[in-house]
Amino acid sequence: MFVCEDNYDVIVIGGGHAGCEAALAAAKLGAKTLLLTQSLDTIAQMSCNPSIGGIAKGQIVREIDALGGAMGRVTDHAALHYHMLNTGKGPAVHSPRVQCDKKVYQFTFKHFLELQPNLDIMQDEAVKISVSDRAVDGVLTLRNTFYHAKTVILTTGTFLAGTIHIGTEMFRGGRYNDMPSDGLAKNLRDDLKLNILRFKTGTPMRINARGLDYSKFRLQPSDNPLQPISHFTNAKEQSKRTFLSCYITRTTLETDKILRENFQRSAMYSGHIHGLGPRYCPSVEDKIKKFPEVTSHPLFLEPEGFNTEEYYIQGFSTSMPEDVQRALIKSVPGMENASITRPGYAIEYDFSDPRDLFPSLESKRIPGLFMAGQINGTTGYEEAGGQGLMAGINAALKVQGKEPFVLRRDEAYIGVLIDDLINKGVNEPYRMFTSRAEYRILLRNDNADLRLMPYAFKLGMLDEKYKAPFEKYQALCQKLIEKPALSADEDETELFPWTAEKARTHADIYHKYAGYYERNKKDAEKLAEMDSIKIPEGFDPSAVRGLLFESAQKLASVKPQTLGQAGRIPGVTPADLQLLAVHIERFRRLKNAKAAR
């Protein structure tokens, strides 16, 4: 065994969307960081669709960007098609989505990582997390190298004990063509005794565009003018680039017939898959089964890159055998002569119950162990990136002996995401929806900067050079909100990357939602008040008489840190909270009395 002489503050295991953000954030905050990944060539790989953003997800990308994460900037760099979703509806549900060149995306991200001071990258597979004195102290790899670490962030994606299904064919893999992480899976399950559960997800086939009949598709051109997804991208410069179109087609009765005839051969329906899959991302066989009355489903053709003819077919996720997949393709107008380059498949993988996490994403069971992304039961690049960023920040803060950075539900979708995970747990892969956010009207893609950049500057996650323009922009927004009649012909020097027009838009949206803004803010204040009541260390909720039995059990397992968090655990009643409030105060007084003696 080679014991590496470097002592790392933070080791990130996994180089996907969560791991990359985590590594960058930790290093940015000054933590000596190591990113361990099976393969450097698949860093930040878009394993499913070649796009970033979407409903609610786009808001998360904006938040990651405002907090100094890389996802937004990398996306703009790799963009091949922009589409602002829902522009016909209210601004609270406008969401950016950007199609990316897959290869450009992952290599840009890799380059970002390479350029980041304090960050080492190593191609090796973690097989064991070393724990001593009940806290993390290092990582052992497949090459038998040991790295010392004060904290470890697990971002294992679909790799933990991954199993791939295509029809009734079944083989081991963490992603098509990649090895599963079996050593680490065993370590987490057997040695660390994490509460491991299993989920399933899937991806559609990719096709070669040669031979496509575009006349049968509906064209969806890239937005013009476009809106970059990163706050720091120059929209004018970005507009000068070349973009590609996407295409829309539909399944036919023939598609329907093929699927019906082959239900029994699908991995899902033949009983091979035991993990739970997401309801909102059904395979095409699922759609036919559950909605027999819908005879045609839309399909979106998304280019996988500038320098390839491969298309990703959104809506055609399937775990049918290869021969059925070939027949399915031929049944779709315009795709009769296309050929499959990679079949769609389903994958099962291990994840760990997120209720075992603190709001900082640190494990309650093993101090120093953080988790982000699919290992927490989520799905989606954006959800993973958001958690990765927070885990990276919090691991660094822990090493520096600082308080964790936690976002509230009224501050960010990232706050909603983590709060939901740790309090409610998951029973299917968790995807963000705007309807999960009770403060949807406050959490918009257009105000992510105003919501979160003040934190980012304070933490040191953003370049100081943006501070002056940001504060100027903040002041301008405030001015326009107070005096809507004011003309916005503002001096724009030193405002870049912000513009007076953006401030004007912000003020208009504020006025559109005025009454709702105030009401939501008031609710949020109450929430913050509840969250400010800390459940003190040593306080044992199970000793509180009169709690409902189920509530006491849930409180004992979730171990909330504040009264507010206790209230968000499903099933905890207002009377339970009253009792907790009184007992916390009682506990505090008794402790003070003891101290005085």
């Binding site: 409903i55 509806k89 829309i248 059904p282 008489r545 009184v582």
Partner: protein
Amino acid sequence: MQHTICALATGAGGAVALVRLSGPEVRRIVSELIRRPAALEPRKQTLCSIYDGKEVLDKALITYFQAPHSFTGEDVAEFAVHASPYIKGRLLELLCEHGAVAAKRGEFSQRAFLNGKMDLVEAQGLCDLIASGNKAAHKLAMDSLDGKLSARLEEIKKRLSELLAQIEVRLDDVDEEMTPLSDKFVEDEINGVLGHIKALADTFSVGKYIKDGLKTAIVGAPNSGKSSLLNALVGFDRAIVSDRSGTTRDTVEETLEINGQKIILTDTAGIREHALDPAEKEGMRRSHRAMEAADLILFVLDAFRSLTPEEKELWQDICRQNKRTIIVWNKTDLSAQCPLLEEAEKYPSVAVSCKTGEGLERLKKLITADVTEAQTADGLMISNLRHYEALLRAQTELESVLIRLESNAGGEIYAEHLRRALTHLQDLIGEVTPDDVLGIIFSKFCMGK
């Protein structure tokens, strides 16, 4: 910021009732109720008219205590009003209409404790008080509802959550695959639910029992002493307001007043007459109907013999009603042992001698306990008032949707109001989580990539 809370501070009986209000908005609420800018002086009593619309509800002595020099440590106002059940009930409703929230069990004391106005020893009693409410709260609320009401609640829950799902699914439908919801559809759904909510609010309104009386069904076999019980209650009280035969010759209704509360007693006579045809069990059906309409059931049994099969069956029917029920053991000698009755421990029971009048006072107390049962050290009619308030708030939210529809405000705005309405109704219909709404969406619509 804390809510401003209100509750009745005195028990039933007495000439004066004390209603307490505590929290940051005390001054505003008081000045709105008395229609005067609040010239409240701390620790001074002021005689003021309390307005209910155009009418004066009552003249009240109001005492104001300024934070932190009050029982709770917050701004507090105490209203001394006439102890009519209607006046105190309506005053609490008015306070809620002006933004106060009905206090939870023990909430005044809880605030006092958290603000350092109460010591640790006193706090123990407070915890017991809160805990006693915990288990009872939901069940009590549900038990007091008859079948029709719970069907209404189910309907409200279903329609509101499905409407929300319909709106949410369109907010997520970026490809505009779905036909937009017509304003007419949303309007009709909202109006449908509003109809239910208003009807419910009427039944929950505290004034309801006082105005309409508490419907009490006396059921039992003819030889169990039902009639003598009726006579004893009516006769001893000598407070008959009216005396008329029921619309059918099988039911007798008597209206009387017990402990200041109007009670409508329904005696379901004639089980035996029709029991000749056991297949029809007409008598059983009749008492069943009477029980369905009742707020309270008195099950009368002869303590000197074991239960007949008919009585056993009747008892099962009573249990299924899920209503406030009192078991009345009719006997001349109160020391005798009563026969066994399954699950009797779930309901209050009382032994009564109609001849001597023994046990009658206790029975009367149990009958009017509807008001006094929910009474705690600092709250009256908690479940009813809190439900009434919840319905009122939900109603406001739904009416907002109708208003916002006119300006075509958009799905995210309607959804916001609907979600708030559902949150307000939570104690009545159970929680509807975002995940529940997503569940409806995924089961009804083919969504996702």
